[in-house]
């Protein structure tokens, strides 16, 4: 299982990019942390989620 923003999901084995495709997140508005480290944008499609990973997806909204 992979914890995504606090919720356990059965997505181990998928890449970050593949998981994001199953969500409503806009890839241009997010930052993704895996186990406390930023996942480089250029590595979403080669970063494979492992059992026990913790993923934190920050999705920005406009305004400032």
């Amino acid at each position: 299982m992979v914890k995504v923003n606090g919720t356990e999901l059965d997505i181990a084995g998928k890449t970050v990019a593949a998981y994001l495709k199953t969500t409503d997140y806009d890839p241009k508005r997010i930052a993704v942390e895996r186990n406390g480290n930023i996942v480089f944008k250029s590595r979403y499609d080669v970063t494979v989620l492992e059992d026990g990973d913790s993923l934190e997806i920050v999705s920005f909204v406009g305004g400032g």
């Binding site: 241009k28 930052a31 942390e33 909204v61």
Partner: protein
């Protein structure tokens, strides 16, 4: 009459104590975007005695900015970075300020931000916020990033908060109130979020890393 630098420093030390003042006055903070968030962050940090501010915005002051941003009517049309630098020097005359009127991109980000101990993300568009957050976290991993998301509209002020996302990444705001879908941005709620960001900067400099 403007006080001498010694009088100024003594007054800050009286307020903050010499240990905190030393940390604040030796710090460099970059503020990316000088709108409702950035201009208010800058005023708070200049008042607190931050030694050096890097103010970055390519835009100019518009009449529609004045309801929430720290500019004056006679500054309409001026570069925000230059107008804000002037205003800050009226408030806190011994602040060292670098005003940058360039647009931050993936290419110039490191050269613009490398001197900063802490980077404040204070952009307006969600895409620009994400671009800067990813860029700083990827390219300047030993800096602190204090970003903001969600401060628009008439919702309660009590949902504006600060969250520590990772060791060096703090996020302020309610994370949901989008300026595009709400009634827009109102000075107090934007200032609240800016105050969260500015205070988080001071806490990091003070060695208080938890939220």
């Amino acid at each position: 009459m403007i006080p001498s630098k010694k009088e100024w420093t003594d007054a800050l030390i009286t307020r903050h104590g010499s240990a905190l003042h030393k940390r604040f006055s030796s710090a460099t903070v970059a503020i990316c975007g000088l709108g409702g968030l950035g201009s208010n962050i800058a005023v708070a940090l200049a008042r607190a005695g931050i030694g050096r501010l890097i103010l970055i915005d390519f835009d100019r002051v518009d009449i529609t900015n004045l309801h929430r941003q720290q500019y004056k009517a006679d500054q309409i049309g001026r570069y925000k970075a230059e107008a804000l630098a002037e205003n800050l020097l009226e408030i806190a005359p011994y602040t060292e300020i670098k005003a940058v009127t360039e647009k931050i991109t993936g290419e110039n980000m490191v050269s613009l931000l490398k001197d900063a101990d802490i980077v404040c993300e204070a952009f307006d568009s969600a895409e620009a916020k994400a671009m800067l957050a990813n860029g700083v976290l990827e390219q300047l991993p030993d800096r602190y990033l204090v970003a903001a998301s969600g401060m628009a509209g008439m919702d309660t002020p009590n949902t504006i908060r600060t969250r520590k996302v990772t060791k060096r990444f703090y996020l302020c705001g309610d994370e949901v109130s989008d300026a595009a879908s709400a009634i827009g941005l109102l000075a107090p709620r934007v200032m609240l979020c800016a105050a969260h960001q500015a205070h988080t900067v001071l806490r990091i400099l003070a060695g208080e890393y938890e939220v």
